[in-house]
């Protein structure tokens, strides 16, 4: 009898395992390029439509009289990276939502009607979180520059706009594919918002400041520093932007004026082990729980890091690499009382006749900092707009908070990427904007005005 039960038990374990595996892995397995069952679905269903949050069509499949299908992208270059393309290996939402787009949950009676008419079944539609108006302003504002804009809703994690330049026209993807692949220099196909790795420049002072507050919760407000335009320690010399002397500063002013000298000295005072732990908590050097393609932001910090490298790291230069997505996530957490919501692009899946197949709801990613820390950081970032490097956002009908950055990427010349990351309104943050403009100059001069245009569109009537 023992043997009978042994085998029966073994079989139940196996059956449970099989059911569980098959059901939980269905989507990933279906998206695997080795799975030929995709072709069955593709032959059976026409690819579903991708909509913006406002109902505008971002991608649809058109069938001509001969039955030939073409994928059409009405907004052409504007959503190139966010929506992506459905041929040549798939990218963007076309890749992310492929499983839904190639399946059809249309009513059986409609399928029968399709059969009679000799048509394919309509694939399910995907309704994204993207906002066409915001995307257009962000896209137009970047102009000829290379760079990236990502706009999210801090309380939910919805991605409202995602622009990356240089871009391409997904309608022409098959024709230009070979050229795009050959062109290694401009990396057109890279979605800079999630995959572009940049030196964070002064925007990283958000992280340095947070770590300083954590280590000195009672005394950080007593911080004072006399800036004469540069700071030296050993061989290493850190200059303030354009060599400006900021004079006597407290902590808030050093942050608002983005004083490199003060932050280099703060960096030296930090506990490098604790700093490394904070970086991990802020999702550096690790895989992200997001559904789309991204690169990991990198900065290693521990006791073995040299003084000179810590000084550089504290002001966002040196080896540090960050994606606009990562910076946006940290900013959004500050705006949302310290809690990061998981960024997402797909709101729901519907059949062609608008029956909801699957609804995605906001999901907490994790708490990045305490509520108190988030409040202190908000205060610092508000001062940047009121009296610091981001004053172009002050005196408006809404309030904003943020941090500029001018990240030097060329050791020889003083070229810099213009950064801004921030949110508005301060009292009840509704949008979180992160912008990088490659090689434009200072963040205050180039990135802040674009932010203003986006925020104006949101809050100015």
């Amino acid at each position: 009898m023992a043997v009978t039960w042994l085998f029966v038990g073994l079989f139940f374990a196996m059956m449970g395992y099989t059911c569980h595996y098959a059901v939980t892995h269905r989507q990933t397995l279906m998206n695997n390029s080795y799975n030929t069952r995709q072709e069955i679905l593709v032959a059976q269903n026409s690819r579903g439509t991708i909509y913006a949050a406002g109902g505008q069509i971002l991608a649809e499949t058109k069938t001509d009289e001969s039955g030939k299908e073409t994928r059409s992208y009405p907004y052409a270059n504007m959503f190139s990276h966010a929506v992506g393309y459905a041929s040549n290996g798939r990218y963007g939402i076309e890749a992310l939502a492929n499983y839904y787009l190639i399946n059809s949950n249309t009513k059986l009676s409609d399928k029968v009607a399709n059969d009679v008419a000799g048509e394919k079944y309509p694939g399910d539609s995907v309704i994204t979180t993207l906002d066409v108006d915001l995307q257009k302003i962000a896209y137009d504002s970047l102009g000829m520059y290379s760079g990236a804009v990502i706009v999210t809703e801090p309380s939910t994690g919805r991605i409202l706009a995602m622009v990356s330049k240089p871009d391409f026209d997904p309608n022409e993807i098959d024709a230009v594919w070979d050229d795009l692949i050959k062109d290694k220099e401009s990396s057109v196909l890279l979605n800079r918002t999630t995959q572009g790795l940049y030196p964070p420049g002064s925007t990283f002072k958000i992280v340095t400041a947070l770590e300083y507050i954590r280590e000195n919760p009672d005394s950080y407000s007593q911080f004072s520093f006399q800036c004469n335009g540069h700071f030296s320690h050993g061989e290493e010399r850190i200059n303030c932007y354009h060599g400006t002397s900021h004079g006597g500063e407290n902590f808030t002013k050093a942050f608002a004026k983005s004083c490199n000298s003060a932050f280099a000295s703060i960096g030296l005072a930090l506990d490098r082990k604790k700093f490394g732990k904070t970086l991990d908590e802020l999702l550096f050097n690790q895989e992200l729980k997001v559904d789309f393609a991204y690169n990991q932001s990198k900065l290693v910090m521990n006791e073995d890091v040299e003084d000179a490298d810590v000084m550089q790291a504290a002001i966002g230069q040196g080896a540090t690499q960050i994606t606009p997505l990562e910076l946006n996530m940290i900013t959004a957490a500050i705006a949302n009382d310290g809690v990061l919501m998981k960024p997402y692009l797909i709101d729901r899946v519907e059949t062609k006749d608008r029956t909801v197949v699957k609804q995605f709801s906001p999901d907490t990613y994790k708490r990045l900092m305490s509520e108190e820390e988030a409040q202190i950081m908000t205060g610092l970032m508000e001062e940047v707009v009121k009296s610091g490097t981001g004053t172009k956002l002050s005196g408006l009908s809404y309030t904003a908070a943020g941090k500029t950055g001018s990240a030097e990427y060329n050791k020889v010349k003083s070229d810099s990427h213009a950064w801004f990351t921030g949110f508005a309104p301060v009292e009840d943050p509704q949008v979180c904007v992160t912008i990088i403009i490659e090689g434009a100059g200072s963040g205050g001069d180039y990135a802040v005005p674009i932010t203003k245009r986006i925020l104006d569109a949101c809050f100015e009537q």
């Binding site: 196996m14 059911c19 098959a22 269905r26």
Partner: protein
């Protein structure tokens, strides 16, 4: 219209097989085969409905009427098997026969879908095998000398496996078959039965340490020849069956423990020594890392199983032929893909119910030889099911054995049919034993009553002992 039939039939087919499966376990409520009769009849109805609906879908999907003819032939075969068996062996066990026919019909359905040509070939093999098999319970019941052929079984078995090793043809890296006059045999299948007979007869009289040692050497010879032929799945089956049979024959846990320990050690050694073992373990641990070569088969199998969902894609709606060797080693994945996970789970449960019935028979048999055979055949069967289903679902590393009754393969289906008919023979022997005891008891009672000169007429209590 066609779409309604294919879509709705998925749910009906699942419902029918679920009802059949339920009856498989409900019959265990009764000890008495007479009282199970209603359940068996209902099973036949569900079986017919599953088989019929599947072929209805096949005809609609392909639009070919010849499938209907093929279906009618199958129906005649299965119906006459059940009827003939009932007539010839009135003491037979109908659950075993029903399950056999149910599984065979699933096999016909899925093989017809995968390869019509092979399905037809399989049909003729099954027909011939059933004709042979029908006589087996009679021989098992009457040939008393089977018990004394101990060393003959071992000798023939080792010789047959040895011949394959030396002369056999290589298929997929393993030497497992050889051809005589155009017919390809896979002797390891038949030797399984001989092996069970060998171990059972060796332990039928004595089960001391010396016996264990001698049989271990001969069992080891079987296993080593199979390992040398690179037929790891069969080697594993022989090994496991031997260990469990020794455990049951001696009743000592130490042998089971030693067997498991020795088996694990052997597995580690095999992993170290043979690259083809390493490849398979790698393909099991992370098939997606080697999806181009070693992991291809298992990943294709997983794609198939997961794409079907609970109710399957429907016959001819999936792409099971993308799985290499799908009609032999990976037929389970094809069933899961097109007929659904629920259907395939029911199929496993039917196998389990056959196994439980077999173990029940073993438990109640008085004669050690027959008891060990029933036990050994049960373990052989269920362990093979475990290996093939587990291998295809990434539960355990892939070993490349067939799913009994469902997979394409003449040797496999003939062997399993013989095994099931032997079990029928054993069941009849058990009922004979029961009858004999009841008769003895009745005679004693009668004598006692005569002595006491009782008034009541003697009642026939023969059914009392029935199972």
């Amino acid at each position: 219209m066609e779409l309604y039939i294919t879509e709705l039939s998925k749910y009906f087919i699942t419902l029918f097989i679920a009802c059949y499966t339920l009856e498989c376990f409900l019959v265990f409520r009764f000890q008495d085969e007479e009282r199970r009769k209603g359940g068996y009849i209902r099973q036949n109805i569900w079986m017919f409905l599953v088989h019929f609906s599947c072929f209805l879908v096949i005809c609609f999907e392909t639009g070919q009427i010849e499938y209907l003819l093929f279906y009618v032939l199958q129906q005649i075969l299965l119906f006459s098997t059940i009827m003939l068996f009932r007539m010839i062996y009135q003491k037979g066990n109908l659950l075993i026969v029903n399950n056999m026919c149910m599984l065979l019909s699933i096999g016909f359905v899925i093989l017809t879908r995968l390869s019509y040509e092979r399905a037809i070939k399989q049909f003729f093999i099954v027909t011939a095998s059933i004709i042979i098999g029908m006589a087996i319970p009679f021989f098992i019941r009457n040939l008393k000398f089977l018990k004394s052929l101990t060393w003959v079984y071992a000798g023939v078995g080792i010789a047959a496996l040895g011949v394959v090793l030396i002369l056999g043809t290589v298929t997929y890296g393993s030497k497992i078959s050889y051809s005589v006059a155009g017919v390809t045999f896979q002797p390891s299948e038949f030797v399984k039965i001989l092996f069970v007979f060998f171990v059972a007869s060796a332990f039928s009289e004595t089960w001391d340490f010396l016996r264990v040692a001698v049989t271990a050497v001969l069992a080891g010879a079987h296993v080593l020849i199979l390992v040398a032929s690179k037929d790891l799945g069969s080697a594993l089956i022989f090994f496991v069956v031997y260990v469990f049979m020794v455990f049951i024959a001696t009743g000592r846990w130490i042998y089971l423990f030693l067997g498991v320990a020795g088996g694990s050690a052997a597995a580690v050694v095999a992993y170290r020594l043979f690259s083809h073992v390493q490849v398979r373990v790698q393909a099991w641990k992370d098939p997606f890392s080697c999806i181009d070569d070693a992991g291809f088969q298992i990943t294709q199998s997983l794609f198939g199983i997961s794409s079907g969902g609970w109710f399957g894609l429907g016959l001819f709606q999936g792409n099971p032929t993308s799985i290499p060797l799908v009609e032999a080693d990976f037929v389970f994945s094809a069933v899961a893909e097109e007929l659904g996970i629920l259907f395939s789970m029911c199929m496993i449960l039917i196998c389990i119910s056959s196994f439980i019935m077999c173990m029940n028979i073993a438990l109640k048999l008085q004669d050690r030889f027959y008891r060990l055979i029933a036990f050994g055949l049960g373990v052989t069967y269920i362990f093979q099911v475990f290996l093939t289903v587990g291998g295809g679902t990434k539960f355990i590393p892939m070993t490349g054995v067939t799913l009994p009754f469902i997979s394409y393969g003449g040797s496999s289906v003939l062997t399993t049919l013989i095994m099931f008919f032997i079990v029928e023979g054993l069941y009849i022997i058990r009922r004979d034993e029961g009858d004999k005891r009841a008769r003895n008891r009745n005679q004693k009672r009668k004598r006692r009553r005569e002595q006491r000169a009782g008034e009541r007429p003697p009642r026939d209590r023969e059914d009392e002992e029935e199972a």
